[in-house]
């Protein structure tokens, strides 16, 4: 076994030694960091089954999973030009500190005044075969039953959810990339008086809040008793997507 490891190590060393240096980037471009602060109303979201929150239906609940895809990010510069990130798929996982922020690279220098993105994964990537990076099916967000990506997932427990016995576990997997129950939502957030100033010296950090209470509020009030779970593209799932379409707000920009 040791021997195998050693050999494997040797092989690995040799192969990596053949790699060429990365090409030098000549374009005048910098980066922007996006950080997601997950909240329940005014409190920071804590993932466990002890800390409880109250939704718009007055149900008490706690959260153990909160994940969502942020895709097809576009930044608008003050001169009206738009920067679109290539291969723009980012999985945010409130339960994994390594997955609450990401960096956009190759952003041309300038002052940016707005961002837009999709919550979920654009329809094409749902049926384009094996993907990698944040779309790797090993991350558990690829749905094998009518294949496609889970756009967002919220799970936890609520005493008002009586469908799941003593555990009161609810789970909402938002899926559906086509037809009348298409649950893809586009978010546009103007920075108003703020600006993200991308320059050789500054890598701005845009802090966005994501509020789980929005899942239950507007336009449709949803209770745990009525909806203990979703896992199909249908009207209930779409109601969640319509509700959470406005869960993001700009908290601050640090230049």
């Amino acid at each position: 076994m040791k021997k195998q490891f050693f050999l494997f190590f040797l092989i690995a060393v040799f192969i990596s030694s053949c790699k060429k240096d990365a090409p030098v980037n000549l374009n005048p471009a910098g980066s922007v960091i996006f950080k997601f602060i997950n909240m329940a109303g005014d409190s920071n979201l804590i993932l466990n089954n002890i800390k409880t929150y109250i939704n718009a239906h007055n149900d008490t609940f706690s959260v153990h999973t909160f994940k969502y895809y942020i895709s097809n990010i576009k930044l608008t510069r003050n001169d009206g030009t738009i920067f679109s990130e290539k291969e723009s798929y980012h999985l945010i996982d409130a339960g994994n500190s390594k997955r609450t922020q990401f960096t956009l690279a190759n952003v041309p220098y300038g002052n940016y005044t707005a961002v837009s993105f999709i919550i979920g994964v654009d329809s094409v990537r749902n049926f384009s075969g094996a993907q990698t990076g944040d779309l790797d099916p090993a991350l558990g967000m690829f749905w094998m039953w009518d294949t496609g990506y889970i756009f967002a997932e919220l799970a936890g427990s609520s005493p008002q959810d009586t469908a799941h016995g003593l555990n009161h576990f609810f789970s909402y997997a938002i899926i559906g990339y086509s037809g009348q129950y298409n649950a893809l939502k586009t978010v546009r957030l103007p920075f108003y008086s703020d600006t993200a100033k991308v320059s050789p010296l500054i890598t701005p950090q845009v802090n966005l809040k994501a509020d789980v209470l929005e899942w239950f509020k507007t336009p449709t009030i949803i209770s745990f008793a009525a909806v203990p779970f979703t896992d199909l593209p249908n009207q209930t799932t779409l109601n969640f997507a319509n509700n959470y379409a406005d869960m993001f707000t700009l908290q601050s920009i640090r230049n």
Partner: protein, 341 residues
Amino acid sequence: MKKTRTLFFVAVSVLLFSCKKDTTITKFPEEIQFVIPPGWASAHYDFSTNKLTTNGFILGRKLFYETKLSQNNAISCGSCHQQQFAFSNQYHALSAGVNGVLGTRNAPALSNLAWQTNFMWDGGITNLEVMPLAPLTNHFEMNETINNVVNKLQNDATYPYLFNNAFGTTTISSQLLLKALAQFMGMLVSSGSKYDKYEKGETSFSTNEMNGLNLFTQKCATCHTTPLFTNLQFMNFGLDSLFNDPGRAGITGAASDSGTFKVPSLRNVALSSPYMHDGRFATLADVLEHYSTGIVHSSTLSPLLNTIAPLTSMEKQDLILFLNTLTDSTFITDARFKNPN
């Protein structure tokens, strides 16, 4: 001792070859190529996003027969999809997975997958590349996680090397694993049956086979359309009126899809017994008896089956003789598709 030596040899050859491009070790009689049989439509699977290479195919084949893909290291894709039965299996109506646990559906024969738009009896999977994720992670089948499989292969003595041959990297990812399997599965083309030779004028049919073909064209071909012998649609073939398995409706949620299943290809059908999504019929004669006298009416029954003239025993016999001409002996003996291990 022997093992260490081979390992050492592999390591040395990797050291020698790792900076070169061409490191094909397995000698193959010919370069692997995907050929569209004359007269067939272009394939649905897009090889341009997964460039087919001999090394990619060799890797895909090894993975298809690799028991490390299952949780107990005992079952491979090839355990349920056996070449001599046109990549189906005859032992279990409902395929047995790890620990002999039975699934709920019958393993279909695999061929001409590159032309299919939907996979599984309910069509729930829409791309050949992600198809293996279903059996890999299915509790009844291989019961493994993608991360575990990738780790097992990464820690194997030869796989990093084979991935490097195929894709130019020793770092194994689920994406490359799936692309390699898709290269193997996409290559499983069956177009060399007696029927195909007859169509090309290379052989003739007996009077009975001829009669069977005519009956088939009249009664079956609307659903089992040539050359794939499926129209790729979902139909209710009149098996039940109460649907234990909702079929396509389990995916779409539409009541009009209750009890409909993907029309299966009938290529190599003589080898792929038992039949139907749940393997309820053991023989082709049973299937024809069902068609002839057993159609169960329900609101989703295909209108084509509303009024069926029962088949005479002569017609049944001729239909079976025709179905036998769909057996492709080159396909089931093709050395390229054999278990290399």
